[in-house]
């Protein structure tokens, strides 16, 4: 296991995407102006697809450490990397017509998106605190820059600033926690932490401080209460295509570092971090769902919805069992797919002149664009967790894991707030289906591009049609999680 060798093959997708990001950056300087965006777009999507194939190709080949123990290639990383890569490819496809009209469809956008993907993949395969932190910062820096890319927007600049300051603070907190852990255990590798844990009991105060700092940093990155304040502002302030990017794949990477750090590195101290996650999970579900009701802006509503979903994700995680971790992983994967579809549909409704921001902009959508309205209906019922959509299986798996760990009252509170949450998802359906278009609605005939809509349709239909194969997906995730090193 502790092979102290380089083994480049463990990081092939990362290497491919980094090289291509550099290549696109250079090409952007030499190509004629009119073909830059086209070439950059084509190359980026191809790179992401090729890297997906490589990531999936590594599935089932066991766990291999590379780069002298900095990264690990296992089934968890294979699945999550494939999710991140495919998700980001979808983001680029959905964003095209929107971003072109807003003049952010430039070389920098692709380069930042690809480097962000590299950061996420490093996070996903981190086997060492240093690689974990480097991946996290690489992603964060790309996100700050992507938000700020819309130079003429005051809101975007504000969002970028806010995100940067709070993000830097959270990174600092996480890093401080990590340094304390290093001081206590003398190890930076996750396996090393796991082995050193036997000698340290929980009545050690510095250890508790370290755990609190690490968990706080992680919760910030996930956007769970009480470290959620940045989420709605950043979602609202960013250009919608950037919101799409940062709402989808980074959640998978965020889940991955929580899994690597807490479930592998710190699993001996389950009793300590479990309590913190209980508080955060319940607050996220409660606050996310109640505050979302008051929102009139689609992006803010979805931001609060995200917060509540992160609460549900933590609910599975805090069970502290293989079943719980795989339930959370299923939740993260399904959440990513829904989130892509949700913001993808909002993007498809935007026209060059028109920004879809308010819920009321969707009034009577069923009369004007029945197909997109239907896809949005699927998305809303998925977010509400109503069967037969996959949202149900995600909630079901998480609740089952939490119940098996004995958190009955927690589960009942979560369930009650899920009903409250259902209200604002239903309201969106109501606005699209029951309300008359009226005179205010700006959405006119379909203007988006056909290719993007086709991908979007597949994306949304998967939410229902994947029903017969959901068992196979759960099996795959359970096997991947079960293969993680544990005591």
């Amino acid at each position: 296991m502790q092979a102290q060798t380089l083994l480049l093959s463990t990081a092939l997708p990362e290497i491919l995407v980094s090289v291509m990001a550099c290549a696109i950056l250079l090409l952007d300087l030499y190509l004629p102006r009119e073909s830059r965006a086209k070439v950059g777009y084509g190359l980026s999507v191809l790179t992401l697809l090729a890297a997906t194939v490589i990531a999936l190709g590594g599935l089932g080949s066991g766990s291999t450490l590379g780069f002298n123990g900095l990264v690990v290639r296992d089934d968890v990383s294979g699945v999550l990397k494939a999710g991140v890569l495919l998700g980001t490819a979808a983001v680029l496809v959905y964003s095209r017509s929107y971003a072109v009209a807003r003049r952010i469809w430039r070389g920098e956008f692709f380069v930042l998106a690809l480097l962000g993907v590299v950061g996420m993949m490093v996070m996903i395969s981190a086997a060492h605190l240093i690689s974990l932190y480097v991946g996290l910062e690489l992603l964060a820096l790309c996100l700050y820059a992507m938000i700020a890319l819309q130079r003429d927007s005051v809101k975007a600049a504000e969002a970028a600033m806010k995100y940067f300051i709070l993000g830097a603070l959270a990174s600092g907190i996480l890093l401080y926690g990590m340094s304390l852990l290093y001081g206590l255990t003398g190890s930076l590798s996750l396996r090393g932490l796991q082995e050193a844990a036997i000698n340290l009991s929980l009545d050690n105060l510095p250890l508790l401080v370290a755990l609190v700092l690490v968990v706080a940093g992680l919760l910030f990155k996930l956007g769970a209460v009480p470290f959620h304040m940045w989420v709605p502002d950043v979602y609202e302030g960013s250009a919608t295509c950037t919101t799409l990017y940062l709402s989808a794949a980074p959640k998978l990477a965020g889940f991955a570092i929580v899994l690597r750090l807490l479930a592998v590195g710190l699993d001996d101290w389950l009793a300590a971090w479990q309590d913190m996650l209980v508080v955060s999970a319940i607050l996220s579900v409660v606050i996310g769902n109640t505050v979302a009701i008051a929102q009139t802006n689609i992006k803010r509503m979805l931001a609060y919805s995200t917060i509540s979903h992160m609460g549900f994700l933590l609910l599975g995680f805090l069970a502290g069992s293989t079943a719980g971790y795989s339930a959370s992983m299923l939740y993260a994967v399904i959440y990513t797919v829904v989130s892509l579809a949700a913001f993808g549909i909002v993007l498809a409704l935007c026209t060059p002149a028109l920004e879809i921001e308010q819920l009321n902009d969707l009034k009577g959508l069923n009369r004007r664009q029945p197909w997109l309205a239907f896809l949005m209906l699927l998305v809303m019922f998925t977010l509400a967790g109503v069967p037969p959509t996959v949202g149900f299986y995600a909630k079901f798996a998480v609740l089952q894991a939490a119940l098996s760990a004995g958190f009955i009252s927690l589960v009942i509170v979560a369930v009650i707030f899920a009903v409250i949450g259902a209200f604002y998802y239903l309201r969106v359906v109501k606005i699209m289906y029951f309300d008359e278009p009226g005179d205010a609605p700006p959405v006119v005939a379909f203007t988006g591009d056909v290719g993007a809509t086709a991908v979007l349709s597949v994306n949304a239909l998967v939410l229902v049609l994947s029903m017969p194969w959901i068992g196979a997906l759960i099996d795959l995730l359970s096997r991947a999680v079960a293969a993680l090193p544990s005591h």
Partner: protein, 495 residues
């Protein structure tokens, strides 16, 4: 076991769902004629396909029949597990029949978003049959909840003026109950040795406290659907605002699901709690029978009146279940089928009037018999059946339930029998004001009698009501063994 026997249930679940998707694909209202024919074809097809369930059904066994089982989510031992017994089979036939009725009833009435309307009903049909067939708890839950989506849209899109409120109220009420049920199902999974099979749940050992909690969680889900007092308030709102077809399906089938849930889940899974808490259910049922009937008496809106009458009649059903007596339970089951026909027919009758005058107020009518004699005959017939006239299906169920409860406790029978008076009062009073008397106004005088389509729909239901009333044996003998087996199971304590 032929191939057909093994897959028949799957076929009648998914055939209408596929039909619904195809109907949806016909798109805009320009293709409405195609959508209508397609929907009629698929609903008739489902009815024909479901007939072998009756002809090939074995009355002599209480075991599940037409069983189909396959692995689905192996990580949680969730199976695709279907099967029917004497309780669920008649309800499936009822669902298949009423969907045809609803498709024909909306033929020229629904003019907006026709494809979406018909598709919603076809998909609902598949999901409702799925609820009656599912023997895996998660599959059951899946169909149970999925049904909310089309019903939500039916009420919200094609309903009346207060439809949005009614739709959201309907959805949230049901969702609260359902999610509590989900928690109970997950608990049972561990109690039954990591299995989601409902049949394994029946034999799962459970302590007294666990049984009580599980019973209450199920009660929350099923009582809302039945609906029982005091969680019945969504029903009048939903009914009044739903289009005619929606009301028919809601009254005739959706309400039956709650009752079915009691028989499939609550009573066999938590028999001790069911017997200990029977006083609660019986008390609420008798309250519904008497109090809601009085509420029905003062309604000015015909649909509201029938909605309250439904709640009152469903009180009979839950009363019949929880006296734990075989005549009572069989009577309750007959009452379920009979109420499906009668309430469906009454809502269709109101629909016929509403389509002509666009009013559901009793006060807008009067002397309808002068302009619509054929219709008036049918309406009076269904009203009498609703009041429990001997010779109609309404009598059989109520009589058996009263007979059963008399042997358990004469006071139950005495209170329940009050409905024969109050029920007759509110129904006949409505008939008197709507059908008879002097012609109320010009628009009533100009009413046109029902056309062949409406006559066909109401006539089929009238034949069913009369048939079941005169000769209930074919239905009773199907359910007899299953009911005896269920009662035998329910009397054995799990403690």
């Amino acid at each position: 076991m032929s191939w057909l026997d093994q897959h028949l249930l799957s076929i009648i679940i998914w055939f209408p769902v596929i039909g619904g998707v195809l109907v949806l694909a016909t798109g805009r209202d320009a293709n409405a004629a195609v959508a209508r024919r397609l929907a009629l074809g698929f609903s008739l097809g489902t009815l024909v396909l479901s007939l072998p369930l009756y002809s090939r059904f074995d009355n002599a066994t209480a075991h599940m029949q037409f069983v189909e089982r396959a692995d689905w989510i192996t990580a949680f031992n969730v199976d695709y597990f279907l099967g029917i017994d004497g309780i669920s089979m008649p309800l499936i036939l009822l669902t298949a029949l009423l969907t045809v009725v609803v498709v024909i009833a909306g033929w020229e009435v629904i003019r907006e978003r026709v494809a979406q309307y018909l598709a919603a009903f076809l998909i609902m049909e598949g999901l409702m049959i799925g609820v009656f067939c599912a023997l895996d708890a998660i599959l059951f839950y899946l169909f149970w909840e999925a049904m909310l989506i089309p019903m939500f849209l039916i009420i919200g899109i094609w309903g009346g003026s207060n439809r949005v409120y009614a739709a959201i109220k309907f959805f949230l009420y049901t969702l609260v109950g359902s999610l509590l049920m989900l928690v109970a199902l997950i608990y049972l999974y561990f109690a039954a040795g990591e299995s989601f099979s409902i049949l394994d749940f029946h034999n799962a050992p459970l302590g007294a406290t666990a049984q009580t909690l599980i019973f209450l969680a199920f009660f929350a889900a099923f009582a809302v659907k039945v609906p029982m007092v005091p969680v019945h308030t969504w029903l009048p709102d939903a009914h009044v605002e739903a289009p005619t077809g929606g009301s028919v399906i809601l009254a005739a089938i959706t309400l039956k699901m709650g009752a079915y849930g009691f028989l499939r889940m609550s009573i066999p899974i938590a028999p001790d709690a069911a017997r200990d808490l029977a006083w609660l259910v019986i008390g609420l049922s008798l309250t519904a029978v008497v109090y809601i009937a009085l509420v029905a008496l003062v309604q000015r809106d015909m649909k509201k009146l029938i909605a309250y009458s439904s709640i009152s009649h469903m009180g009979f059903v839950t009363l019949g279940f929880f006296i734990f007596e075989s005549r009572g339970m069989e009577g309750a089951l007959v009452q379920m089928i009979s109420h499906g026909f009668i309430s469906g027919a009454l809502f269709l009758c109101v629909g016929v009037l509403y389509d002509r005058l666009h009013s559901r107020e009793i006060a807008s009518y009067g002397g309808v018999v002068n302009s619509m004699p054929v219709f008036a005959t049918l309406l009076v017939f269904f009203a009498l059946a609703n009041a429990g006239l001997p010779g109609t299906s309404g009598f059989v169920g109520e009589f058996l339930v009263i007979l059963g409860s008399f042997s358990v406790n004469p006071w139950y029978a005495a209170v329940a029998a009050l409905t024969l008076i109050v029920g007759a009062a509110y129904t006949l009073w409505m008939i008197k004001r709507v059908v008879f008397g002097a012609v109320a106004n010009d628009s009533v005088r100009d009413l046109v009698d029902i056309n062949r389509r409406e006559l066909l729909v109401l006539g089929v239901l009238a034949v069913c009501v009369l048939g079941l009333g005169v000769w209930p044996l074919p239905v009773l003998e199907v359910m007899h063994v299953t009911v005896d087996n269920l009662l035998a199971h329910a009397t054995v304590s799990k403690l």
